[in-house]
Every structure is written in C-alpha cells, then in structure tokens.
Symmetry: C2
Subunit: 430 residues, 2 copies
C-alpha cells in the first residue's frame, strides 16, 4: 500500500462529467489499496470568470480580496469532487488550503509556502477517507489571511503536501500523456519520455516547457519525491520525473532504470521573452556592471546575456540580454534613467524573438552536440541571434516567426522523431 497524491488541473474538472470521470480514477486508486490525497484546481474557466467579475467593480482589486475571491473556485471544485466520490460509495472529505495546513508568507497573489502541517489530512487518511485539498491556496502565517500561490500554484500545493506527508508519488494529471521530447503542438512526431531526471526536467521547465513549473520540480527534487506526469483523459503510463527507482506498485509497465543516459532528452521552446540591446556602451571597466545594477534594482529577471566587444575603433560595445516580456517596459525605463550617467547611446527593445533549447545530461560526455545543433539551424537558414550554454543545455535566440521551424529542425537532427502522433486532450489548467 502506497500513499499517492494526485493533482488534477482545471481542464480535467471542467464540468460535472469531468468531475465524475476524475472521481472514478480516484476511486480506482483507493480500491487498489492506496491512501489517496487529491489536490484540485478550479473548474475550467472559473478563475477567469471570477477575475472578470472583479474587473466589473474595480480596475485595481486589492490583492487580499482578489485572493479571497479566487479561492472560492477551488472550494467549489473540491466540494463537488468529494460529493462525486461519495456517490461511488467511498468516503471523501474536502479541505481548504488553510485547513490542510498550507502555511504561506503574506505576498497575496504570489505567496510562497513556508510550512505544511497536514494534521487534518493525516487524520482523514487514518479514518479511511480520501482527502480532497484545494490547490493554489494557503493561509498567511502572520495575518491569517487567505493567500494564493500564483501561477502553477496547484502543482506546488500537490508537491508540497506530498513532501510533508512523505508520499510515495505525486501524480500530476494534465491534458497530455506526459512530458514530450518537444511540444506536440509544434512537433507532431514528438515522443513521450517515459522517465527523466530532475536535473533535465529543471532545465526543460526553465527553458519554457510548460508542463511543470520550475518551483514545483525544485521542490520535488529537494525532497527526493517522484513525480508522475500523466493525463486524466487516458489510462496511459505518463512520464516519471525522478532520480530514484520508479515504485513498481505504482507503475503499469516496468520503467527501467536506465543503464546509460540518453544523450538528448528533449527540445524546449519559449516565446515569453524579449531582447533588450544597449547600444554604444563605453568600453570602460565597470560600465557593464553599472548597467546590470540598474536592471537588478528594478527587480528584473535576466536570462541570457551577450556582449559584443568587437566594435573596436569607436571604443564602444553593444550589450544584449533577454528578459520576460512582462518586465520589458520597467527595464527600458530603468535603463533610460541611467543613460546619461553611464553614457551609452540608446536602448533597443525587441519582443519578436523566440528561444529554442536542447537539453540532455548526455551532452557532458558527448562532444559535437553544439555543432550538430547549429548545422541543423543553418540548413534551414535560421539566424542565431544569441547563444548560451550550460553543461546539459544549449539555447539559441531566433526570430519569433522562425521558432517553430527551429524546434522541428533540431528535433529531427537529434533523431527524436517517432511515428506515432501525440494526443492533446484539452486546454491547460493552472
């Protein structure tokens, strides 16, 4: 008997039929002899509907009240899910984030979990109940106000609860069958990965793969918690994200511990970034530092940085970096403020870029991966504007409208294509 934490996103519980389908899955897991804790998101479009209701009364909803409002979404889905499970003859009890012991800081809308004290969940399990927990929400340690965890919050709830309960696995149910070698909407021939180590999954998430949020993978890694990413719309085995052996009782097919890591795990892409180029920077010591200090003070998260020092004769260089589009205006304003002091010529802002990344721990021991990557892009006449690498990753910035071609070219160049087409079942939850 194992302790299984399952998380279902909004698309899995979009309506009463979805909730009944999910209830049957949960009941099957319980009847297989496992203890089950379920974390659930709000139904379908509930969150968007609530936000639009708030916007009808004020353009600037106070963050505390917005959290109070939005958390009603999970309250609805968890109660109805508990009812649907009861209807199948099993005991189920729903718990808010607060009742489940999800203690956070007071940063409304993007709270961080600082402790999980799941005493009531443990009691419910000991009494034979299935525990249903509202994802995405917690209670502030200081003010006792209700908080939300921000994007990907329900996944984080699930992983944090699973870690606190020392669960055997955290199953993340979504609208695809698992983690693919590339986004199947761009590369229909992408292959499902049966197992991936947490280091690679971290790079995939950091490079734009949306299937798991970075903080959720980090959390699981810190607690050595296996994650099983799978679809609530099919019975297929999904993708195991773990550095330890896969528990045999929780896996349909034996997921072998790899004798040798594959060279490449997958191709990730990201459309959410923009590029800022600071043109005509005086080539003095300390100038680059001054620029990035100004950006850091504005609390901008920088990704890639490239300095072009070859402008020689003029004694000036260009510095480019990428950052989330959402922070673009703030960054440009921060730089304009220090322009005269530092003495650069101008700031250029470009949000028509894309980033393609190749990830695989096997790169460490296999030279020639970069050359093959660049050759694949070159053959498609795709220009590489910026390049950055880590031990297990190569990333390249391209024009936004060339990104899909770039992803496909790289995917094919590394023999990742398969013949079966991937299935995408619905929208995406939060």
């Amino acid at each position: 008997m194992a302790l299984v934490v399952q998380k279902y996103g909004g698309s899995s519980v979009a309506d009463a039929d979805g909730i009944k389908r999910v209830a049957r899955r949960i009941a099957a897991t319980k009847r297989a002899g496992h203890d089950v804790v379920v974390v659930v998101s709000a139904m379908g479009d509930t969150t968007d509907d609530l936000i639009s209701l708030a916007e009808q009364v004020t353009p600037m909803p106070p963050a505390r009240e917005l959290d109070m409002l939005l958390t009603s979404g999970e309250r609805i889905s968890m109660a109805v899910l508990a009812m649907a499970i009861s209807n199948l003859g099993l005991q189920a009890r729903s718990f808010t984030g607060s009742q489940a012991g999800v203690i956070t800081d007071s940063a409304h809308g993007k709270a961080r979990i600082i402790d999980v004290t799941p005493g009531r969940i443990r009691t419910a399990l000991d009494e034979g109940s299935i525990a249903i927990v509202a994802g995405f929400q917690g209670v502030s340690q200081d003010t006792k106000d209700i908080t939300t965890l921000g994007r990907g919050g329900s996944d984080t709830t699930a992983v944090a609860l699973a870690a606190a309960l020392k669960a055997d696995v955290c199953e993340i149910y979504t609208d695809v069958d698992g983690v693919y070698t590339a986004d199947p909407r761009i590369v229909p021939t992408a292959r499902k990965i049966s197992r991936i180590c947490s280091e690679e999954m971290l790079e995939m998430a950091a490079c734009g793969a949306k299937i798991l949020m970075l903080r959720c993978v980090e959390y699981a890694r810190n607690y050595d918690l296996p994650i099983h990413v799978r679809s609530s719309f099919s019975q297929h085995e999904g993708t195991w994200v773990t550095d330890s052996p896969v528990p045999a009782s929780l896996s349909q097919s034996a997921v072998e511990d790899p004798v040798e890591q594959p060279i490449i795990s997958g191709v990730a892409h990201d459309r959410s970034e923009a590029k800022i180029t600071v043109v005509g920077v005086p080539d003095n010591p300390g100038t680059a530092a001054a620029i990035f200090e100004a950006v850091a003070e504005a609390e901008i998260n920088i990704d890639m940085i490239v300095q072009n020092n070859s402008v020689g004769a003029s004694g000036r260089a260009d510095i480019s970096f990428t950052l989330p589009k959402a922070e673009g205006a703030t960054a440009v304003a921060a730089l304009d403020k220090v322009k005269a002091g530092i003495g650069f010529e101008r700031v250029e802002y470009d949000d028509q870029i894309g980033k393609v990344s190749l990830i695989g721990v096997g790169m460490r021991s296999h030279p020639g991966v970069s050359a093959r990557f660049f050759k694949a892009l070159g053959a498609q006449k795709i220009n590489m504007e910026m390049i950055s690498t880590s031990e297990i990753r190569i990333s390249v910035v391209t024009r936004a409208d060339e990104l899909d071609d770039a992803v496909r070219a790289v995917h094919t160049a590394f023999d990742l294509d398969t013949e079966a087409e991937a299935v995408v079942y619905g929208g995406t939850g939060r």
Copy 2:
C-alpha cells in the same frame, strides 16, 4: 458615532451593478461617521446554481460537502463587495464566517450559533476598516468543519454579530421598504409599519410573515437589539423592530415612541402548512396523548390543534392538527404505525389549506376583536376550519384558494388600508 451592522440579501447584490449600489450605501454610512459591519448573502441565483451543480454529480450530497460548496457563494459576494468599497476610496476587509468568529454546532445545513467571537472584526473596525462578513455560515466548534445556518441564515449572522459587537442597530436590507400591515402582493393597499414591538414581530414571523425569520427576531429580542428593516433599492425609512427608543442619529424622521399601542399591527398569512385529521379516535383518557407522542417522536413541529368531542353517541372524536407540509409524509407514516394500537379509524391528509392571522398587542385591552374578525370572513362566505388564539393573535384556517380573499377582508375590516400602493423591488434573498 454609532456601530451599525447592515445585512444585504442576495437580490440586493444580484450583479456587479447591485454590488456597486450597495457599496455606495455602505460608504455613505461610513462617511456619516459610523463604524460599519456588513453581512452579505450570495449573489442572486448563486446558491441555486451551486445546488444544481451538486445534483449533477450525486442525488444525495453529503451535508458537510454541501456546506463547503454553498459557502463559496458568500465568499464571492463579500470579496467583490470589499473591492467595490475599496474602489470608492475606503478600506474594506472581508471575513468568512469562521474568520468572523461565528461558532456553531455541527448540524450541517441547519447549524445553530453557539458563540460569536468577533475579535478580528473588532480589530478591523479599530483600524478604520469596514468589515464585510459572509452571511449564512460558521465553523463547527467540535470538528472545525464549515457549517451553514439554514434558511434565513444571513439575517441570523447579522443579528448575532450585532449582539456580540453591542451594535446600536442591525439594518436588514431587503427588497421591500419594511414590514407591512399585510403582504403587499396580496393587499396592494397595505401600509408600511414604522415601528413594531418585538412581541408582535415574533407573532408575525411565526404566522408566516417572511420578511424576518423567527429565530432572528428572538435573538434580537434577547439582546435588546433594535432591527431596522428597509430596502436597499430606496432611501426610505423602513420599519423599526424594537422595544426601546429608536436611536435618533440612525433615523431620518423621528420615529416617536407610541403613547398608546395601536390595537392591530397587521395581518399575516401562511401557505406552508397542511392539516392532518385523525378520524374516529376512541374517547378514552390518554388517547390524544398517545397520538401526539407518536407525532413528537417523529420530530414533527405541530402548530394548531383542534379536538372535536361532539361525536357523542359513537364515543369517538376527531382530532385535527396543522404542521409544515414538508413534514406531512413523515407524520402520516408515524400515525399509520400506531393506528392499530390506539384504535382510531383513519388518517386524513389535506394540504389545500391556508392560515390567516391578525396580530396586535392592543387586543389584550380591546374586546370584540374576534367578533369583528369572524364577521369579516363570514361576510365573504369564507369557512373557518380551525381557530386558535393567543393574547395578541387570532388565527383561522381556511381553504387555500380562499386565503387571499380572507387576508384582504380582515385587512379592510380593521381599517388598515392606505391609499398609497406599496413598492416591491425584486426577488427575495436568503
């Protein structure tokens, strides 16, 4: 400066516009220098929508989960109302029943308040905030589960909070301008009562006047708390329910302390009861007791009782009593079980009855009220099937389809008609 508790029903906050209108009223009260606590129901049809969602997954939702589900309705309305107030430049903070310290027993769906510990509300007021509290809900003292208070629960929340906070008034906002001498939908010439004592209001509520729930009036009476029933759709002064002087700072027009009580306050009616007649009861001592013991064991609430002992020769009598229609089937079943033991002939069930009641403390000192009442019904050829009286009330059971005529006849006979027509603004909240 006074402490004002205001309660707004679902029809007052049916949509974003309604919420904005209510927010303006609340802001005006705050700007007039008062401390304001607001109790709010779920928006419009939210509760019905949630119940129908539950019914889509199970015919028998567990009571604990149904309470968890339904309480999301007030969570939405209170958060959005707090936002709308913030948008007017005032501070507002919303609180769930649990956060507001509404402690109940564990009877899900019909919980009773056993304590109110409004520490967080007091703090919010002390900090200059308007406190918005979810009506209809609390938290169980024993299990810490979320509970609902059942019908009229938001009014009870408001009165209980007002009592615990020692508020100067509890304003109940609804869709009519106050308490009328009769239901304006039946008697268009009914007159708004500017002031009524709690004893009369208790009888009105017990006799079917839906504007205030019985338990809410009882609660206010026990704590000597003035209630002001008024409309959120108009600025008119409503009806004060109080045995003490009306606070001048909270009343537009001076509501005088009456030198002499009016003889009659109003006419109430009730369509929610049915009549059971036990036919051919042996005329032995203890038989009636045995019948009502059986009914009491089935936890049936009985209203009026009439025993007809005039059947003489046969040595048998008929016993009739009225009870809520909802409990009719249970009562008939309970009686059928004891039929052989007691030896009565049969049980007749009749749900086509109505009850008209005349209420007024002045009856005590004015003889002849009953005669005038019966004469008014007689003139309309309305048959009186049962009669019951208290010191300040006369009630008569009629055929259901004669009830409206009976109400109008009695209203006119006691000179309660006025020339101005009453205004009804919308639906009714809970």
